[in-house]
Structure formats: structure tokens, C-alpha cells
């Protein structure tokens, strides 16, 4: 009833090509942003910011990275964790080599390294497709993991073999390291993620994004229409890995504070993959929904027993949440294989036609 586009006429192509052509969507986004930028910083607890919102944003960004590759360019990848690792290690090396360089610059540069590595491991995609490609990205995953362990230079030969985040400031305010408050870190990540999401949305609706989707939907036709598969696939790998790399750097620098190689292991790749699947391939909104679902839901599930004074073991809860997520994945695949984003869209369509369900 409230969600109607009737009466909203577009008079220019520019209006019609806006990211959110429907006014209600724009209002909704505005409310979400207002909550994220104003309400949460004012009212949310430290735990909520540092253990729910920060990981949620980091994972959303990583999911966007993977979704660009998988959902938009149609190239399955199981190496997300490793690409995030490249970003994190690059960020660490850069900031320890050049301590005076602004952390923002370091962060943006670190994505470049993971983009480069992404391109190298994307090369086989020119000959290999589908599931076969997914398994070759496993080679990237395991080989890079091995490099993170074996190449001591990457972690400055620390005895612990881990990268430890030094304190970096912006305008005198600590944004990384233990001194940085959850609020500062949250606001920083929120800005980065918001801007990068906007950029992704812009790129995806332009020529480059379209060329990825052409390759995804019908690679032969795309080639016959002048798309060079080499450029399209590698640019998708580069762009996707850039996002993953920045997400990895954010994860270590603004969330964990330190990381060993296990932080980027194969399970991490799967975690991001689940987010993309659950959220919906080929949907940016879906990335956020998927990240919320996979990361926040278990946190809530864990909180339920204590809310009801149920004396359940933490481990039991862990098993149950694993089962619940597994069941939900299958449930979604059966009910709506295109993920939460599609469900959301269907919901909106229903609203639009309500109360006449058969109107189109």
C-alpha cells in the first residue's frame, strides 16, 4: 500500500537510470544510512559495534567482492579467503615499510596487490569454466596460504608468525590498533564500505559491469558482440579481488587487530561463499543480507539460551547453529534459489500489487 510507484514519472533518461528509481526505495535507503551513521554511533553498545556491526560490514564488502566475480561475471571462486589475505598482508607490509603513509592510502593500495594476484589466478578462467575453475581457485587458496606461512618477509619475521596491527592515526585520532575505539573503527569501516558499495553499484550498471554480465549469461554471444573475454574476465577478477583485498585489510586492521594465516583459510572462503549464496547471486543488497544472515544470526542464536535461562553448552549451541544454517541454506535453495535478495524483491512486488495479487 505504501510501496507504490504510481505517479512517479521519469522525464529524463538520467532519472530513469538512477540507482534507485523508486522514491520509497530512496527513502528506505536514507533511513538505513541514517541509522548506520547516526543512530548506531549514538546508542549502540561497544559489543554491538565491534562484534556485530564491524564484522558484518567487513563480510559484506568481501561478499560484494565475491559476488562481482560469481554473481555478475559468472566465475566461481573458492579462493576468497586467500585474496583477502593478500590484501591484509600487503596492508601490513606497506604500513610497516612506510609508517608515515596515511592508512587510507595504504588500505586502498593494498587492494591493488590482491587485484594483481587475482588476475594471475584468473588467467586459467580463459580456458577453464564452471566447477573446474572453482577447483583451480582452490589451488590459489592453498598456494597463497602456504606463501603466507613460508615467506617470513610478509610478516616481518615475527616470532609468532602473525601480523600485528600497529596504531595508525587520522588527524590525531587512532583508527587502528588497540587504542582505536570501536566507534572510530566502525565509522571508518562504514565510510569505506558505503563508498565502495556505491562505486560497485555504478560500475555494475555501466559498460564494464554489463560486459561481465554478458560473459556470464552467454559468453559466446558476448564475444561475438565485441567483448574480449580476456579483458572482461580478468577485469572481473581484478575488481573482485580488489574488493576482497580491501575487505581483508579491513578485517585485520579494523576488526581483529592481528591475524595468523588461519584467519584466511579455506573455511573463510566458504563463509563468504555462503553469504553470497544466501544473500543472492548478482545482487548487492543480497551481499549485506547474506553477511547479516551468516554472521549475525549465529550471534543471536547463541544469545537465545541465555535469554531464556536455558543451560545449554556453548558448544551445543554451535552445533545447533551449524545445523540451522545448513537447513536454511537448503530451505532457501528449494523455496527461492536466488537468495534473500530475490525474496525481498518478490516481497516488494507483492506490496506493489497489493491487494490485487494477480495484477501484473
Amino acid at each position: 500500500m505504501l510501496y507504490r510507484e504510481a505517479g512517479q514519472f521519469k522525464t529524463t533518461y538520467a532519472d530513469d537510470q538512477a540507482l534507485l528509481p523508486i522514491a520509497q526505495d530512496r527513502i528506505g535507503l536514507f533511513i538505513i544510512l541514517a541509522i548506520a551513521f547516526v543512530a548506531l554511533p549514538l546508542f549502540a553498545s561497544e559489543f554491538f559495534l565491534s562484534s556485530i556491526m564491524i564484522p558484518f560490514l567487513v563480510f559484506s564488502l568481501a561478499a560484494i567482492g565475491l559476488n562481482i566475480l560469481m554473481g555478475y561475471a559468472g566465475q566461481l571462486s573458492l579462493g576468497t579467503g586467500a585474496f583477502m589475505g593478500v590484501g591484509a598482508y600487503a596492508c601490513y607490509k606497506l604500513t610497516t615499510l612506510y609508517p608515515d603513509m596515511s592508512i587510507i592510502v595504504v588500505l586502498l593500495l593494498s587492494g591493488v596487490f590482491s587485484a594483481a594476484i587475482g588476475v594471475v589466478f584468473g588467467l586459467p578462467s580463459l580456458r577453464i569454466k564452471g566447477l573446474y575453475l572453482a577447483i583451480t581457485t582452490l589451488a590459489a587458496q592453498f598456494f597463497l596460504e602456504w606463501c603466507f606461512i613460508r615467506i617470513g618477509w610478509l610478516y616481518n619475521y615475527n616470532d609468532s608468525g602473525a601480523i600485528e596491527v600497529p596504531t595508525r592515526t587520522i588527524l590525531g585520532l587512532a583508527v587502528t590498533g588497540p587504542q582505536a575505539t570501536p566507534l572510530t573503527r566502525y565509522m571508518f569501516i562504514l565510510c569505506v564500505v558505503t563508498i565502495m558499495t556505491l562505486i560497485a553499484a555504478n560500475v555494475l550498471r555501466g559498460r564494464i559491469g554489463r560486459s561481465w554480465m554478458m560473459i556470464r549469461d552467454m559468453d559466446i554471444a558476448a564475444e561475438l558482440m565485441g567483448i574480449k573475454p580476456l579483458n572482461a574476465k580478468l577485469s572481473a577478477f581484478a575488481f573482485s579481488s580488489y574488493y576482497c583485498g580491501v575487505a581483508g585489510a579491513l578485517m585485520v586492521f579494523f576488526w581483529l587487530g592481528s591475524a595468523e594465516v588461519e584467519a584466511f583459510d579455506i573455511n573463510h572462503s566458504f563463509l563468504i561463499l555462503f553469504m553470497v549464496i544466501i544473500g543472492g547471486m548478482g545482487s548487492l543488497t543480497g551481499c549485506f543480507m547474506g553477511a547479516a544472515f551468516i554472521w549475525v544470526l549465529p550471534v543471536i542464536l547463541r544469545a537465545i539460551p541465555s535469554a531464556f535461562d536455558l543451560n545449554l553448552l556453548a558448544a551445543t549451541m554451535e552445533h545447533i547453529s551449524s545445523i540451522v544454517i545448513g537447513v536454511l541454506i537448503i530451505f532457501f535453495l528449494i523455496v527461492e534459489p536466488h537468495g534473500l535478495a530475490r525474496l525481498w524483491q518478490i516481497g516488494k512486488e507483492k506490496l506493489r500489487t497489493w491487494p490485487f495479487p494477480y495484477a501484473t
Binding site: 589451488a139 596460504e145 561475438l224 549464496i277
Partner: protein
Amino acid sequence: MEALSIGLDAFFLAPFRDMFSLPDLLIQVIWEGFVSGVLYALIALGFVLIYKASSVFNFAQGIMVVFAALVLVSLYNYGVPAWLALILTIGVMGLLALSIERVILRKLVNQHEAILLMATIGLTLIIKGAGQLFFGGEPKSMITEELGLSTGSSDWEVFDGIVIFQHIDIAAAVIAIIMVAALALFFSKTRIGRALRAVADDHQAALSVGISLNQIWAIVWFASGIVALVTGIMWGARSDVSFALEIIALKALAVLILGGFTSVPGAIVGGLIVGIGEKLFEVYWGPIFGGGVEAWFAYVLALIFLLFRPQGMFGERHIERV
């Protein structure tokens, strides 16, 4: 220049000198590679069976290995005699296959391969959670001797050295061969087996001659459940039964790349190549890289292989049409 020639020597010649200076060790390395190759091949075989019949890339194969072994050991620990536990475990795997077909596959008929793959990822999470919930996460020892498998070893004196053969490894190889033979017989001699092959070739055609797809799916899942159980017993005997085993199953993916998703001989040959190759590489070349190269060798091998033969070892090159 000199450094380069030393480097080339270290990489291309020295490993072979090492091999021939201790031939008994070389034989041992190849044997160890062969045994782990057999186990990789078994896991890959589980994948192939299911993929052939239903185009489902069963990601849960690895966790099924753990689950089968866990059920067996836990039943024994509850006081069930070993032989009965084995039979009951086979029953449990059958039940699992049946419920997977009923609850999941039947609802996802004709969906895209990627969606079926994801469904098996969901299945993995469920089995993992349920397995730990019911049986606990702590590692358990495999009931090797109780199942009548010898834990001893035999020596073979050769080239002034010895090669040690663990009886359990010999048993693994023999049982694997028997299983592959049994499967081959099943495929070629029985009505259901022939139906399975028909399904693999063409779903529509199979349906039109009155073969129930549901029945066949349940059967292949059951068959790979049994393959998983055998793998679980063998690998469990080599170390222990714990959820860490699941990670090894990922190596079967590299095997599948080499052998192709639908080829039983491919799974076997691929398994042996990966098994023997990685042991040789780790022992003779690993020290050059600081060791631990086994972690990626199989995947990188598969990747390089794919670049030259994208269709796999036994796959046919197909012509793209528009």
C-alpha cells in the same frame, strides 16, 4: 651463473640422485603414495558415482567419510559388537541416502548444477553439526582390530634396505580393488546398474524407458555412503576419527580435475597420480621450498594440467556450437 647452475642442479638432478642412492626409500615413498592415492581415489569415486547419476557435485562426500566412521566407532563404544556396528552403520548410511533423496534432491530436480552443489554444502553443515551434537567433537580411535584388520607390518628386504608394508595399508589397497571391481560388476551386470548408466547418459531417455530417477538417486547416494564408510575406516586407522579428516577430502577435488567428473577409471588413475606425485614431490623436492608443499601440490598440478587439457584425462573434447 654459477648460482643458477647450482639451483638447476638442486631442482632437476639432485632429487633423482637422492632417489637412486636409497632405492629402498624410493620404493617406500611410492608405496606410501600409492596407499594415500588409493584413499583419495575412493573419496573421488564417491563423488563420481553421484555426479554421474545425478549431476550433483557432492560437496558433502568428505563429511560423509567422517560421519560414517564416527557412527561406526560410536556404536562400538556404546557396547554394540563390531560386526553389528558395521551392519548398523551401513544401515545408517542407507537411511541418510534415502532422506537426502526425499528431503533435498527430489525438491531440487532440474535445478542448475551450481544450486545442487550449494545444497550439498548446506548438507555438509547439517551433518557436521548433527555428528558433533550426537557423538561429540573429540577424536576417537578406529576399531581396527575389532573389525578383523591386522595392525601389524611386514618387511621386505631389498637393495640393502627394507621396505615396510603396514597390513592395514595392504588391506586398504585390496579392499579398494574389490570395491571398484564390485562396482564395475554392478554397473555392467545388474539391471539397476545398467539403468544407472542410462541415467548418466540421458535423463530424459532413462525416464522414458521407465527408470525411476528417485530410486536411482537413493541408490547412488547409498553406494557412495558405503564408499565413504570404507574410506573412513581406512583413514581412521591411519590416524584417528575426527572432524579434521574432512579437510583431506578436499584433495579429492584435485583428483577429480585430473580424472574428470564422470570417469571411474579417471578417479582411480587421478587418485594414484596425486597420491604418488605429492609424496615424491614432498620427499625429494619439498626441502628446497622449506617443506609443507604437499598442501598445494595436488591443486597446482591439477591447475597446470587443466591449462593443457581442460576436459580432464578421460574426457572428450567437445565442440562449442552456437
